[in-house]
Amino acid sequence: MDYSQFLAMRQEIGVLLVFLLVFLYDTFMPKKALNATAGFTAILFSIFTVASFVWGNVGTVDAFAGMYSTSPVCSMIKNILNVGVVIVLIQSVRWTNGDMMVVRRGEFYELLLVTLFGMYLMISARHFLLFVIGLESASLPLAAMVAMDKNRYESHEAAIKYILTAVFSSAIFMMGLSFVYGLAGSLYFEDIALQLGSQVDTLLVVALAFVIAGVGFKLSLVPFHLWTADVYQGAPTSVTSYLSVISKGAAAFAFLVILVQAFGQFYSAAWEWMLYALIILTITVGNLFAIRQKNMKRFLAFSSISQAGYIMLGVVGCNEMGLAAMMYYILVYIFSNLAAFGVIGAIENQTGKVDMTDYNGLSKTNPWLACAMMLAMFSLAGIPPFAGFFSKFFIFTSAINQGSIAIYVLVLIALINTIASLYYYLLVVKAMYISPEEPQIATFRSALSERLGLWICVGGVIALGIVSFFYDAILEATANSPMFAFIG
């Protein structure tokens, strides 16, 4: 066996290394030093992130007989996720330093890093066995993380909902896989594509539907999304923010990889239309639910559902442009959503309040927090000059590249939905800025880590769009990707 193959996995190995160091730190350091676990992890991971940017890209390499594959695109999406994780880590410092978390501080970070590792595998897997391992290691530890808030009942309820539906979903997913295996005789993506030919039969369609359902669960596409809101609401805010951006970003990419690499030739025959239906449902239902939410975390859960629909628009285009637009969207979405969760977390940590009505008049008492929240909302709603506008515009542009009238209709529906989404994002702005009621939250100064996290997010929200470097870099990484060879 050629052990140099492991070099291709250097990003995964990096994550494992960080995990190991954190684990060792948590296990062997004296109790006093454990207060610094959070900072230690954040710094360590930041170093890893930088290193990964510098040395992570090894070009297009297949390893382990093609089960694992990395390419500039894969390394780019991993780097993007790393950036998000850095922000999550920074934002979570205050929460993990709380009294309740004293004994579990280390666990949180270890679990988080394991899930990240799982997501890396999902991204790089070119074989369904590896993919399933990645998927499960990305979702099972999350259940434990969701349940981390031991004293809150909601946290447990969220965890039970998550674990049961997740296992159900993976059962369905694997059922689908078993059919695929029966039809193709292999679990390699490429082999599947080669073996299946272009003949579509009913069993394959059902298998495909099950596979889509399984991954759609991670992405929380409607109608596989029902766990999302409850889990987001119940989980600790840091976990929610992690769940909503990182896990979603990884799943979106993996989804695209599976669809185009394993089932690429059925694009126009089968799953193009499935995606249309799912996108329309996801965006619309997500928006409809978001409209009347009062709990901020639940509200953002539904907003993230509809955002997932927009992310999927990058998949239907099925070309490099779409891939780039999707990755860019994920990047921007990470910053915007984490800014929102950063504010929610800061306020929750200080006052324990998470209702929208609690935000009334926030601009008077905490103008900076309110401003950060407003920018996040504008960016999520796609208002220029914030990054969200650019990502939305590019994802629509890439979708329309496909050129059929149907895609125009699809994009039009998505665009009309942006009006509804603008409505509920503006509701938050309205509560903070316009509502005449007495402010519910007294003026306070948030922790340094929270402020740092917010500044990074706000900086990203403003700069990511206007500075074209980021988009160009992503597009460069995706250029000439061989991924779309099977799109017929």
Partner: protein, 675 residues
């Protein structure tokens, strides 16, 4: 002619307006009055110089001495707004007989009114009227607009100033803006004329769209030299041919030219208060009396007549249009005269008399034909315009003096004033004689020529108009007697007896009275004719007198005298005869007194139909249907959000159930679609 003086004629009033308007409130009252009056005086002198130069200099720009034909001369013409390459809106100065005539009339009356207002616009104790400076500013604005109107070189320039005179009329009628009646009168005047202007505008659009020009000279004249034109029927015929040869020469059974001319005439009807667009003029008497004299008697209201006269060669091309003018004019003349017989407010009587007299001019234009005495009707119309301006301004200014002295508009508060206000009495009497058409006062000659022209056209209209002339004499003398005779004047307790007004007010009366006595002798036939050709070979003071057709003149004179006698019998001394008359024909009296209920009809149309049946439903529709749809969409979204909330039931088993169904449906529907 150098354009310097014409430019000053236009620029001076405009400057006065700006100066008085912007800085007036910082000036003392007398300064503003003197400034305004002096400015107008200078303008008047310059206008006289211009007119004199035009008529009598013999300059080849102005007269073709060999053909004894007066020419049209464009003094200057600057591009103001180029719609297209050919349709260019220019501001210019066209000097021809009628514009020269109007320059004189406008500046004269305007100056008189400026002068007169110095006295009128303050009370007996010498306290100035509030907004005195503003008043002068508006007067200047009006003078500017009116002058710009008459010297217009193209129909669009005329439209511009047409609008401007409308606006200044609005401002002046509403001068006493705290008085609700004045406000509503001004509003009414503006809106009614605006409605008429819509017709005018459409007429212009039609005409210009077919002919590709706005210029009057392109419609009616041929160029004889650079900037000098001669009225020619041939050009008008060319226009008619151009329209007839176009792809769509007819519209709804009438020729496009007729439509255009009638639409343009509609604008004239509005400004000149022809029935049924006359209703604003009686109400316009809410303005200060000098304003009524200037705008609503002498100048602005004849703009309609002027407009038709300006395009007269074109109107000649369409018999139908001229017939409409005659019918409208004749009906209006009779209607206004009948109503004037029953009004109590002296200004309203004068207002209706104005309507009636303008209708005379219209009829005269309508019946004018080149084949009858070189277009006598046209000349008569302009002649009447001139004389009427003088004596009607005189009458209004007299009325102003009376109102100023008495403090009321109703003759019931006057009676028997002849001893108290002798100068006013005499001048008013001269005015009455002039309008009644008694030789040798001004009105006699002009009216006589109108009747002659009418007779030349149709016997029916001749009889009709003679009757109206008789009515005119009757109601004017009715007014005269009721003001100055009827019974002794009773001075209310604690008031001074009425007396003649200060010289600033009396002097204009005297001047105008003198003019009214002699204006009839101006040899108009040699000055103003439809095509500029002189009517007489030589002229003297008695030219008009000599040219009288006595068969007509004696009849009209007789009619006037009889009418005056009847009025004398009825109104000289207090007697029950008028009341008996009124009771004998109650319905007629009531209809006349209520002006045939035109106002009520308009009220009904505007309030009930336009506001009630159009605006309100539209506003309702907008709020409830259009806006309601938008709100409705939001409502539906909100409702559907609630309707599907049970999907998120919180129950894990329901969740996976939905999940499973979703996955199966996704597969099944796709599979079915593929088969």
């Amino acid at each position: 002619m150098e354009p310097v003086i014409p430019i000053i004629i236009l620029a001076l009033p405009l400057t006065m307006f700006l100066v008085l308007g912007l800085f007036g409130h910082k000036m003392s009252h007398p300064l503003a009055g003197v400034l305004g009056t002096a400015g107008m005086g200078v303008t008047m002198v310059l206008a006289y110089i211009t007119a004199f130069t035009y008529f009598f200099s013999g300059n080849p720009e102005f007269i073709d001495a060999d053909a004894h034909t007066r020419l049209q001369s464009i003094i200057f013409n600057v591009d103001w707004l180029a719609f297209t390459d050919s349709l260019v809106l220019r501001l210019g100065f066209l000097l021809d007989p009628i514009s020269a005539l109007l320059l004189v009339v406008i500046t004269t009356i305007s100056f008189m009114v400026h002068l007169y207002s110095n006295g009128y616009m303050r009370d007996h104790h010498g306290v100035w009227e509030k907004g005195f400076q503003r008043f002068y500013a508006f007067l200047s604005l009006f003078s500017f607009s009116m002058l710009g109107l008459v010297v217009a070189t193209n129909i669009f320039q005329m439209y511009i100033f047409w609008e401007l005179v409308g606006a200044s009329s609005y401002l002046l009628i509403g001068f006493y803006y705290t008085k609700p009646s004045a406000v509503s009168a001004s509003k009414k005047a503006f809106i009614v004329t605006r409605f008429a202007d819509l017709g005018f505008l459409l007429g212009i659009l039609v005409l210009s769209a077919y002919t590709g020009t706005f210029n009057f000279t392109d419609f009616t004249s041929t160029e004889v030299a650079e900037g000098v034109y001669r009225v020619s029927e041939g050009t008008a015929e060319g226009i008619r041919a151009m329209i007839q040869n176009s792809a769509a020469p007819m519209f709804m059974g009438a020729s496009v030219l007729t439509w255009a001319l009638v639409l343009i005439f509609m604008g004239g009807m509005g400004k000149s208060a022809m029935m049924p667009l006359h209703i604003w003029l009686p109400d316009a008497m809410e303005g200060p009396t000098p304003v009524s004299a200037l705008i609503h008697a002498a100048t602005m209201v004849v703009a309609g007549v002027y407009l038709v006269a300006r395009l007269f060669p074109l109107y000649l091309m369409e018999e139908a249009a001229l017939n409409i003018i005659v019918v409208v004019g004749a009906l209006t003349a009779l209607y206004a005269a009948m109503v004037a017989c029953t009004q109590i407010d002296i200004k309203r009587v004068l207002a209706f008399s104005t309507i009636s007299q303008i209708a005379f001019m219209m009829v005269s234009l309508g019946v004018a034909r080149p084949e009858f005495h070189h277009g006598l009707g046209y000349m008569a119309s302009m002649f009447h315009l001139f004389t009427h301006a003088m004596f009607k301004a005189l009458l209004f200014l007299c009325a102003g003096a009376l109102i100023h002295a008495i403090g009321s508009n109703d003759y019931t508060a006057m009676h028997g004033l002849r001893k108290h206000m002798p100068i006013t009495h005499i001048t008013f009497l001269i005015g009455c004689l002039a309008i009644a058409g008694i030789i040798p006062f001004a009105g006699f000659f002009s009216k006589d020529e109108i009747l002659t022209a009418t007779m030349g056209h149709s016997m029916l209209w001749y009889v009709w108009m003679s009757l109206v002339a008789g009515l005119t004499a009757f109601y004017m003398f009715r007014l005269y007697y009721l003001i100055f005779w009827w019974k002794e004047h009773k001075v209310p307790e604690g008031h001074h007896a009425p007396h003649d007004q200060p010289w600033t007010m009396t002097l204009p009366l005297v001047i105008l009275a003198v003019v009214s006595c002699f204006a009839g002798f101006v040899p108009f036939g040699n000055l103003v004719t439809w095509n500029g050709e002189e009517m007489f070979d030589s002229v003297s003071f008695f030219t008009n007198f000599k040219a009288l057709d006595w068969s007509v003149a004696s009849i009209s004179l007789a009619v006037a005298v009889v009418a005056i006698l009847i009025a004398t019998a009825m109104y000289k001394k207090e007697n029950p005869l008028p009341a008996k008359m009124k009771n004998a024909l109650p319905a007629l009296w009531r209809w006349c007194h209520h002006r045939f209920y035109w106002d009520e009809l308009y009220m009904f149309i505007t309030h009930k139909i336009i506001f009630g049946c159009i605006s309100k439903p539209i506003a309702w529709f907008d709020r409830h249907i259009v806006d309601g749809t938008m709100d409705g969409i939001a409502y539906v979204v909100q409702r559907s959000s609630y309707a599907i909330r049970s999907l998120q039931s919180g129950n894990i088993q329901r969740y996976v159930w939905v999940y499973l169904i979703g996955a199966l449906l996704l597969g099944a529907v796709t599979a079915i679609c593929l088969m």
